[in-house]
Symmetry: C2
């Protein structure tokens, strides 16, 4: 990877604008693909209100593009699309690739790396988990309210030099970044929290404090987490069953927190239930693991999203 | 039953105020038990905006009472409490009874007649189903928007002379009333609609059109209805499986309808999920009938109502 890699950011929503903005703020060569927001951001620039420090990028400091064909070939493609737009991978990413382009997806849920590997070759693919609360208030105006850590790992491989470079770039850009020896383990560990709280949160339109606010709620959340752990184990990913209690304990301290999928439902955006819930259900089925609570939540979300 | 029976109305919410108001409007001797609304209704009277004809009862035309001990012994106790207040049966109804007082409950769901029979003797108990859309806009102001039919039946007995008298009184008071040969069958038939649409409607905060708006939704609603039919059959109540399709067809014509339990959830009132969902689950368990969808919805509602 060159000293100052060309970074193409695909999916400049809240998460993409934040991380891409941080990289650009710290001198990285970031090219943003914008579609509906292009004109507004071109006129107004990007403003980020952030718990890690506010910042602003003027229009002249931003490299904005309307279509991937107008962008340079990239050394790193950073994918922050909603998973509901994954059917656009080919069209958006193909024009950006040279022989050694790495593709880093920071998307939610399962299956994104697999799909990218299928389309573009597994050797290109890096996965990342974003632990962060960010909302887009309007085009060009982002509010980052909490957390911010990302964890990145090679797809099906241990840590590589390019992963270290990427991690260094993020850490030098006010984005705390850790490397994962085992990306799949990181993904499944995150799902232990995401499946119950995004799933029930969106299906019931309920904040985390409601879900863990009663014995019955705790029992249900715990059962769902145990179904996630069992499915991970069937996939050969040996996450610790202690994560169930650790995630519950953490959630009990969080107050009335709205998961991203609950927010998506409330504002009428497509929900990422296929990547976060449906894909877990499909893997469980493949291995013959019984996950009745997850299956039911998946049904409810499917009904709600039609 | 005397020519002009003393009728005591317990639970002057929307449904109670409407039916009690109709009876009073047509010259029946209706005594209303009011608690939090007493002062306001005493001052302003009762106004009903109704699709069957608006009417108003001035304070001087209403017999209002603050406590059951202040009311006369009644020939008919009309129970329109929310089922969430059923633990007050003894305290509210005992003072009103003479040897031959009949108790007619117009409450939702299952188990109300059983509880009244246990407390006061099965021979007193009559059950009724109200098919009606009524809201209380404020104390003393009721809006009746649709339907209005009630069906009444003796508890565990065929039609009696007193049931005919009651039916005649309602029909003479602009309330369409039919008699049921088999009350249990009527209750279970109503549950075929109520369990899926009140249950999912409240759990998901979704109107009926969303629930029947996709293949997945129709499949889920149908499965839940089939679980209700199976439970009724196990109880010895041979409702027709054709009701499943009939109820779906009817709902497809209804547009975006909010069930009473969805409204209760939205406005923060206690939900009647024990009477409408929980009691069905308990009867299924008793007979060893497998009702996984109903059990799961019951869990979700229990979590939400804590």
């Amino acid at each position: 990877m060159p000293e100052r890699p060309v970074i193409a950011l695909i999916g400049a929503g809240a998460v993409g604008s934040y991380y891409g903005g941080r990289l650009a703020q710290h001198g990285q060569d970031v090219h943003f693909l914008l579609r509906s927001d292009y004109d507004l951001v071109k006129a107004k620039g990007l403003t980020v209100q952030s718990c890690a420090g506010d910042f602003r990028l003027e229009p002249g400091q931003l490299k904005l593009h309307r279509a991937p064909g107008d962008m340079p070939r990239a050394d790193v493609v950073l994918v922050t699309l909603k998973t509901t737009a994954n059917d656009q991978f080919e069209q958006l990413i193909s024009p950006l690739l040279h022989d050694r382009t790495a593709i880093l997806t920071l998307q939610n849920g399962l299956g994104n790396e697999d799909r990218l590997a299928e389309l573009f070759g597994a050797e290109r693919v890096i996965g990342g988990l974003a632990f962060v609360c960010i909302n887009r208030l309007e085009p060009g105006l982002i509010r980052h309210t909490d957390y911010g850590l990302i964890k990145i790992g090679e797809f099906g491989r241990p840590i590589t030099p390019r992963l270290r470079r990427l991690s260094d770039i993020f850490n030098a850009s006010n984005v705390k970044c850790q490397m994962l020896e085992n990306l799949a383990m990181g993904r499944w560990e995150k799902l232990v929290w995401n499946v119950p709280f995004n799933g029930l949160g969106a299906a019931l339109d309920a904040t985390t404090d409601v879900l863990v606010g009663s014995e019955e709620g705790l029992r249900l959340v715990r059962e769902i987490m145990q179904e996630v752990v069992a499915t991970a184990h069937a996939e050969g990913v040996m996450i610790s069953p202690d994560l169930v209690q650790q995630n519950i304990d953490k959630t009990l301290t969080m107050g009335p927190y709205r998961s991203s999928m609950q927010i998506d439902r409330q504002v009428g955006r497509p929900m990422e239930h296929e990547a976060i819930i449906g894909e877990v259900a499909r893997r469980a089925r493949k291995h013959g693991v019984n996950v009745p609570q997850i299956e039911f939540i998946y049904r409810l979300l499917t009904v709600l999203s039609k």
